[in-house]
Symmetry: C2
């Protein structure tokens, strides 16, 4: 599993738009204790509201890594960022990137990091080899977030559930499968970068045997109904062997984003399909809640939608951004109590 | 897509057991016109019944590649084979291998092949990058073989269907997704070696747009119900966008091979699940037949099983080894005629 050196200095480069800084904001919100500050070029137009620190100041405060916290155009490294990355390396920081283009494809960074004894961490990629899935039951409890589409709150829901379970006194660990999640957790597996034959096996490695009353909260990827990424979704689900899953949905979407011919099924149908799929490796798997991205709904519309959907499906319906996920966490603890 | 240089000289090394030579037998049976002969060490105890030819004789007959046609212990290259491989390289042949260990991991082979201007082809691996799936409909007709488990006849069924469609005067191409299939076809994609995010995209590349009345017959992999490999199965199915699928099954199996906790669903349930999955990218997808590996049944038992199963499912039930797949090919031509 990929492991990162915390705490972090967040790098904002020359970002101009707040939407460019999604990764930095995610880290600030979900692991604030692991963030010592932010750094950027003089031309940068934004801040994520943490103290400004140079790489040397961050290193003196104990920082382990400079994390590229912004999206770059085309997923590659703008040359104007290079002096700051070299400065961070010289200060003894690892560099962490979720870009498509690997840090390790820049010989000057490889040379500098090797000379200084620090690491270049490309969290979008995976060079590790994993075993094939075994399907063998592991101790501990597991809940997976799954979705009716990509990019509608599976990571956010998993983080909110982990926080809620912990607040309720349960043992819980967020298990990251995507780049931002891995940065937040400080470890994880970019599951979509694994060789196809080993998706389920990598998911087994991600969520190893644990205490009988411990919950792994596994960040889902893609959707079973997604024309491009469903293979990742299914392999991750099988390897996770979840006792429970939470279905994430955005009611404003009718078709898969960018795939206008791919219709999103109804919630009961989606739950039935995920249940069938999950039961291949865990016959007790069941839906314990629905997590809604309700940003398209007014307060009244959301209240009515949540009430009607919960009555129809017989499980709690929550929006982690609008009231939280406590009812779903409580449903999980009931399962845990019965096990 | 990987492309191999035919015709082939089959290499049997020092094989002792006929079961070791499955790959060589598959090539002899399915592309006999592409096989110029066999070669082996003096200690080899078997022949697959084609003329014995040295690498130099094979090259003189126009051979393009020496194909390692036997399984090796541990999937690696026994040192006693090396002199023959060097001899083949010196004779101007490419070396084709389906072993786990790559030919390219042997520096002496890399050096010799590079000096002679021939290729080392590791068909189990994939270094190519593929685009993500688009889900866009392509012209031409497609049928996929899918299974209730691994290793029960998906490749064999696809090859038999391709042969039968061609015999009936239809345009048809076998599309290989596994190592032996790729050797038989001379091209294809080892789909389980593709990075997870690109399984569906690779399947789209494998089966490009074609004439409206042309059938691609796509070799399936794994099973939707397989705890380790279902992600590959689903991504391949989505990218293939099949108009029709043939379900392959071995009635002697109750659970997935090597996974005693994973129950194989009933045939109607398996067909329903594959239909739901396939309709994500092709709403017309339907089951057109069931291909049975009936080796565990007596002649009478097979006749009764085929009759009863066909009546239950409403589609032809065939065993390609026992009567052939003509009724399934005819069902495909009906679909083609309607399109």
């Amino acid at each position: 599993m990929l492991r990162l050196r915390k705490p972090y200095l967040l790098y904002l480069g020359d970002a101009q738009m707040p939407t460019d800084a999604k990764t930095a904001c995610g880290l600030r919100d979900w692991c604030p204790a692991d963030v010592v500050g932010e750094w950027s070029l003089p031309s940068c137009a934004l801040s994520v509201g943490v103290p400004r620190r140079s790489p040397e100041e961050a290193a003196a405060l104990g920082a382990g890594s400079l994390v590229i916290g912004i999206a770059s155009v085309g997923g590659t490294l703008p040359p104007q960022w290079l002096p700051d990355l070299h400065r961070a390396i010289d200060a003894g920081l690892d560099i962490v990137s979720g870009m498509h283009t690997r840090l390790t494809s820049f010989p000057e960074l490889v040379e500098a990091s090797s000379a200084r004894g620090v690491s270049l961490q490309d969290v979008r990629h995976s060079d590790r080899r994993f075993p094939a899935g075994t399907g063998r039951k592991r101790s501990g409890l597991r809940v997976a977030t799954v979705g009716t589409d990509c990019a509608l709150g599976k990571k956010y829901t998993a983080l909110a559930l982990t926080r809620e379970l912990t607040a309720l006194g349960a043992k819980a660990t967020f298990r990251a499968t995507g780049q931002t999640g891995i940065m937040i957790a400080g470890e994880g597996i970019a599951i979509d970068a694994v060789v196809a034959d080993f998706i389920a096996g990598a998911a087994e490695v991600l969520s190893p045997a644990n205490d009988a009353d411990h919950w792994d909260v596994i960040e889902g990827q893609g959707a079973l109904f997604h024309p491009a990424y469903a293979g990742v979704t299914l392999g991750l689900l099988h390897g996770s062997q979840p006792d429970a899953f939470v279905l994430c949905h955005d009611p404003s979407r009718v078709t898969i984003e960018m795939f206008p011919d791919a219709t999103i099924p109804t919630l009961p149908d989606a739950i039935a399909q995920y249940t069938t799929a999950a039961r291949v490796t865990n016959r007790a798997a069941r839906c314990v809640g629905v997590s809604i991205n309700s940003s398209s709904l007014s307060d009244d519309a959301w209240a009515a939608y949540a009430r009607e959907t919960a009555a129809e499906l017989g499980v709690p319906v929550c929006d982690p951004m609008r009231g939280g996920v406590a009812p779903i966490a409580e449903a999980l603890l009931e399962i845990g109590g019965r096990s």
